[in-house]
């Protein structure tokens, strides 16, 4: 049985939903970051899938985009973690409910 495009998209949509759920419901900042990473992984999966099932899969466009996306998400994770540490040092908490200084 060869996998179809639909199968990939379903997996990717599931991943995205799980990530979104994590990002919305968890209270710990690091878990929110992990949720965001899951959503990015879903997007990368979509890039690869659409490329693989495209009319001309010879040019590595999808792979290139995915690699760029991974590199950017790595940078984002680094910045995000650094921010979490900085926030923790300042507020002695990583609970995002308590981080509401920007309240209007």
């Amino acid at each position: 049985m060869t996998p179809t495009l639909q199968a990939f998209l379903i997996v990717s949509a599931a991943l995205f939903s799980i990530g979104l759920l994590a990002a919305l419901s968890r209270r710990h900042a690091i878990f929110i970051l992990i949720g965001i990473e899951l959503m990015l992984a879903a997007a990368n999966l979509n890039f690869i899938a659409f490329w693989r099932f495209a009319p001309q899969p010879h040019q590595p466009t999808g792979v290139m985009l995915a690699i760029f996306s991974i590199a950017i998400s790595a940078a984002e994770a680094a910045v995000g973690l650094a921010m979490v540490i900085a926030v923790y040092r300042h507020y002695h908490t990583t609970n995002v409910d308590q981080l509401d200084q920007l309240k209007g």
Binding site: A23, L24, I32, V96, L99, Q101, L102, G104
Partner: protein, 660 residues
């Protein structure tokens, strides 16, 4: 020499390097300054050597500085016998003085700055000499003035030094004003400020032809600049005060080189003075002669009654510069420049000798408190005596004797009048007299108050004295009428040896005059500084004999006081008047205008408060309400924001699905 500009550039560069290091070491600063001077001397010699074979030469290097519209402004450098003689004299004398300064300034805390300024001065002075454009000459001329100002006021913590620096700067600036106006006038008439430019320069026939009658006024205005710089009457008052500077500065700037720049300037632009001369006489040259005569005699008279060792030499410098001006005025350009060169050597020698005396007497400058120093300072005494005899014009052995004879010879043939000739005789006698007085007070008799601990100066100070003393004697070789090498070099003629010309009537006239001066001096001052009959020791013999005359001379003929009560008083009055006008008239006007503005402002502020402000206030209330509403949407909870984003995204997707 294709790069004449290098000669002034080297000392300039040395000065910049010294100044650009925050804390340079003393030794390296002095070494750099001396090296710069040696390099300038070497370059000058290099430029000079090839010119020995030719009679009369002129190398010109012109370049365009910038172009303004269609008019290029061109500057340039020139190398001719006049420049060559000056270059060699300045670099050689300068080198001796630089070396002397290492010893003289050894204890000074601003040693490094001193050498930076000296190098700067040297560069500027060399630039004056080789400039081929009146504008370029003026630029260097002002730089030289700046260096002089900085160095007179070198001991800035002394109020008298600061005042002397200011006086020198302002007095020479009055002369420079004339110079500047003359330059503008010259440019207006001839369209160029280049001296030599392949026949088109302002000193060449084509340029001179355009001047016409205005040449006299241009020449006189430029001469006014020379009067300021060379300390000629009536602007001589700054030069004796300039002795507040360190002694090497007095030697280099205010005796040997800078003050001679005025004489050099007149020699440089001589064609302007002699344009349309009948029998070698023009009205501008006649002015030069009489100013020179007045200066020479007046300064020599004042010198007799001075007590400060450096002031005597300063007035002597003023007097000798007057003599050079006389020589230029009567047409003896070569004689004047020869005297300038010889004077550069022996006057630098005398000043450095006085520096050595002051150094040996721990800063004492009053000759009445010295005496008997010949036993303690033999080298200084011998070299000083040589300088004194050269300055007095002792014939045959000393350079000053030959050049003075040459000048007297030229003055004797001046057609309009013989008065300058006889007045110069008096000048020669007076010069011998005041120098004899000085040397008796300083070196003969019994030691008086301070010199108990007097000592000879270190080698670094006596060596330059010996070199300069040799220069003052050996220079005679090229000055004698038997082999007038320097004279012919300057005038551009071939030189012949003719031993017969060595003995001339003028030699005996000169001998008689000088021996009269020295003899009278020795007779008058034989008991100077000692008790003589009912004359107390501290009273000058002349003061005892003629108290009124002595007071008149000792107070410098009250010229400073005259200026204080005329020119300076007038300046004060003008300042007070402007102050009053400013305070009451202009200030009242401005305050009145201000009051009108205030009334208008009251009116507009009413309009603003009542009319415009109300509308603006309403707008801001609305904006604030809106802002409050919007800020309520911000909970600060990041996950709610993210949820809103997700819902929005979902809504967009649903909309898209529904539309498709």
């Amino acid at each position: 020499m294709n790069h004449l500009w290098l000669i002034p550039a080297v000392p300039f560069a040395g000065s910049l390097i010294i100044l650009s290091f925050p804390n340079p070491r003393r030794r390296s600063a002095a070494a750099l300054a001396v090296a710069g001077q040696v390099a300038a001397l070497a370059l000058s010699v290099l430029a000079f050597l090839p010119t020995l074979q030719t009679n009369g030469f002129r190398a010109v290097q012109n370049f365009t500085w910038f172009t303004f519209g269609d008019n290029p402004l061109r500057l340039g450098f020139v190398f001719d016998p006049l420049a060559a003689a000056m270059l060699l004299m300045i670099t050689l004398v300068g080198l001796c003085i630089f070396v002397f300064s290492i010893g003289y300034m050894a204890e000074d805390k601003n040693f490094v700055r001193f050498f930076a300024y000296l190098s700067f001065f040297s560069g500027a002075m060399l630039g004056v000499v080789i400039a081929n454009s009146l504008l370029l000459l003026f630029i260097f001329w002002e730089l030289v003035g700046l260096a002089s100002y900085l160095l007179i006021g070198f001991w800035i913590e002394r109020p008298s030094a600061a005042a002397a620096a200011k006086k020198a700067f302002i007095t020479t600036r009055i002369g420079d004003m004339g110079f500047f106006l003359g330059m503008l006038w010259l440019y207006n008439r001839s369209g160029t400020l280049l001296f030599y430019d392949d026949g088109k320069g302002c000193l060449e026939s084509a340029g001179l032809a355009m001047l016409g009658a205005s040449a006299t006024f241009i020449a006189l205005l430029i001469f006014f600049g020379a009067v300021g710089k060379s300390g000629q009457f009536p602007l001589h008052v700054w030069l004796p005060d300039a002795m507040e500077g360190p002694t090497p500065v007095s030697a280099l700037i205010h005796a040997a080189t800078m003050v001679a720049a005025g004489v050099f300037l007149v020699a440089r632009v001589y064609p302007l003075f002699s344009l349309g001369a009948i029998n070698g006489v023009t009205s501008s040259l006649t002015v030069v002669v009489w100013i020179g005569v007045i200066t020479a005699l007046m300064a020599a008279l004042i010198a007799i009654a001075q007590a400060d060792i450096k002031r005597i030499l300063a007035y002597s410098t003023v007097s000798q510069l007057g003599l050079m001006m006389v020589s230029l005025g009567v047409g003896g350009v070569a004689a004047g420049i020869m005297h300038l060169v010889a004077h550069g050597f022996f006057k630098a020698l005398l000043f450095l000798g006085s520096g050595s005396v002051i150094h040996g007497c721990h800063g004492e400058q009053d000759i009445r408190k010295m005496g008997g120093l010949r036993r303690f300072m033999p080298v200084t005494f011998v070299t000083y005596a040589i300088g004194m005899m050269a300055l007095s014009g002792v014939p045959f052995f000393f350079s000053g004797g030959w050049t003075k004879e040459e000048i007297l010879h030229d003055v004797g043939y001046w057609p309009p009048s013989h008065a300058p000739y006889y007045l110069m005789f008096a000048g020669v006698v007076l010069t011998a007299l005041y120098m004899t007085r000085q040397i008796i007070y300083v070196f003969f008799g019994d030691p008086r108050v301070s010199p108990e601990h007097a000592h000879e100066s270190p080698r670094v100070m006596t060596m330059p004295l010996i070199v300069l003393a040799l220069g003052a004697i050996l220079l005679s070789v090229v000055l004698t009428p038997a082999w007038p090498w320097l004279h012919e070099y300057l005038t551009g003629e071939a030189v012949h040896v003719e031993i017969g010309r060595l003995i001339q009537p003028m030699l005996f006239v000169s001998l008689a005059l000088v021996s009269a001066g020295i003899g009278v001096g020795f007779w008058m001052y034989r008991k100077a500084g000692m008790q003589d009959g009912d004359r107390p020791a501290e009273i000058d013999p002349l003061e005892y004999a003629q108290p009124g005359l002595f007071r008149f001379l000792a107070n410098k003929m009250w010229i400073d006081e005259l200026y204080a009560h005329t020119v300076i008083a007038f300046g004060w009055m003008a300042a007070r008047l402007s102050d009053w006008l400013d305070r009451y008239f202009w200030d009242g006007l401005v305050r009145g205008l201000g009051a009108i503005g205030q009334v208008f402002a009251m009116f507009t502020s009413g309009v603003d408060e009542r009319g415009i402000n109300a509308g603006v206030d309403e707008t801001t209330v609305g904006a604030r309400g809106l802002g409050r509403l919007m800020s309520a949407a911000h909970s600060g909870q990041i996950q709610i924001y993210l949820g809103v984003v997700a819902i929005g995204m979902l809504a967009l997707l649903l909309l898209y699905a529904w539309l498709a």
